[in-house]
């Protein structure tokens, strides 16, 4: 095939691909897709998966210190769910030809990122409430939108995750509500936690649309269905009421209902902080990554034992068959 022919074929394939997307049809693993679409998805889905797994750390840190057996059971179940969500997502990325080892390596090398919010520490019990309410709340806003993403396995993974995620947000809000109705000290603890987690939660939606590196192409390919700013606005609008109901105040003096827009206006995000944290210099970046590397390395003997056991079993079967 000449290069010219090849280019024509490619153009035709790309056209058919885009037409399918424009018609709201899903792309499935065995379909032809542009290499960039595949790479873009692998990047997004694997980072989403890393976020689920790294996100287990700040919460796991409180399992032994939960204030009651009931809260401890809830937190355990939630952290287990997050591990499962990571698995759903890694598997979706694997349908695109990415291997688990490669994705893991990219995380350990610092080439792949995860949600910057998990680089903040969970200092008090109220933080477990704030993480459920705000961090999972923000993740849900994003994930509800991604249920309509153009790649079939990713979209189906999102449906599964969203179904489980609602309990996460409600248990977090319930913790905040209980603290806010408690003693003055407990209420102060809840407010302090909201103060620390509010802005990093808004940063979870990523840079403003105009500054987002991958946004335009992702929207055209319908990997993303709503822009960072749209999703962030949705989150702010729903959170204001939720804070009000339990008597906590959102730490933003510029927060104000805008009758004309039908939305809340809110203050400027500290993008310097966002860039600092996403690029490795948040309060816990090194700790989070070191812990993941350590857990992976310390698990090596388990993986070795599994394959040794498999090899032995195969040997035994072969001997019996002979």
């Amino acid at each position: 095939m000449t290069t010219e022919h090849h280019e024509q074929d490619l153009a035709a394939l790309e056209q058919r691909f885009q037409a399918r997307i424009d018609a709201e049809e899903k792309i499935e693993p065995k379909d032809w897709m542009p290499e960039k679409y595949r790479q873009n998805l692998i990047r997004q889905i694997s980072q989403h998966a890393h976020s689920e797994v790294i996100g287990m750390q700040p919460e796991g840190n409180w399992i032994t210190r939960a204030p009651s057996l009931h809260r401890k059971c809830i937190l355990l179940a939630k952290v287990q769910d997050e591990g499962g969500h990571g698995l759903y997502l890694y598997s979706a990325a694997e349908t695109l030809g990415a291997s688990r080892e490669e994705m893991n390596q990219a995380l350990h090398d610092g080439r792949a990122k995860y949600a910057s919010i998990f680089n903040y520490p969970a200092l008090t019990w109220a933080d477990i409430g704030a993480i459920g309410w705000l961090v999972d709340g923000a993740a849900i806003v994003n994930q509800v939108s991604l249920q309509r993403t153009s790649y079939g396995p990713y979209a189906r993974g999102m449906v599964r995750i969203c179904k489980e995620e609602s309990f996460h947000q409600r248990q977090g809000y319930h913790i905040m509500m209980t603290l806010a109705r408690g003693t003055a000290e407990q209420k102060a603890m809840a407010q302090d936690s909201l103060n620390r987690f509010w802005w990093p939660s808004l940063m979870m939606f990523g840079p403003h649309d105009a500054e987002s590196a991958h946004s335009a192409q992702s929207m055209k390919w319908k990997i993303k269905r709503q822009s960072n700013d749209e999703l962030r606005q949705k989150f702010v609008d729903q959170s204001v009421k939720q804070a009000e109901v339990i008597g906590l105040s959102i730490p933003d003096p510029d927060l104000q209902w805008n009758e004309q827009r039908g939305h809340y206006d809110f203050g400027d995000i500290d993008w310097e902080e966002f860039n600092r944290v996403i690029n490795g210099d948040g309060p816990c970046n090194r700790q989070r990554l070191a812990h993941h590397v350590k857990a992976h390395e310390e698990g090596q003997w388990v993986r070795d034992a599994i394959s040794a056991h498999e090899a032995k079993k195969r040997q035994r079967n072969d001997r019996q068959a002979a």
Partner: protein, 94 residues
């Protein structure tokens, strides 16, 4: 019936975006033939846009009777459901 050809399980994706669903099984000499037979038998009325065939012998299945010992339904852990948390009406759509 040892002279029978291998058994294949057939899964069909009825529409893009949906999971493949099990629809039945058939005998065939090899996977390519199984795929053709599945097309001939199971997609005669536009039932699907994609077919999977899998050797039945490759399917590992749990038994319903083993449920209790194999996986606990965890009915004693209602806190894993969203409805477990009583929230004020104004924010109950969370």
């Amino acid at each position: 019936m040892s002279e029978h050809m291998k058994l294949y399980e057939v899964f069909i994706r009825s529409r893009r975006g949906l999971d493949h669903k099990h629809v039945g099984s058939l005998h065939a000499e090899d996977p390519a033939q199984a795929l053709e037979y599945a097309r001939d038998v199971y997609t005669r009325r536009s039932e699907g846009v994609s077919i999977w065939v899998v050797n039945s012998s490759d399917i590992v299945a749990s038994q319903e009777g083993d449920c209790e010992s194999f996986y606990d339904p965890l009915d004693d852990k209602p806190y894993r459901h969203a409805t477990h948390y009583q929230l004020p009406d104004e924010v109950n759509n969370m």
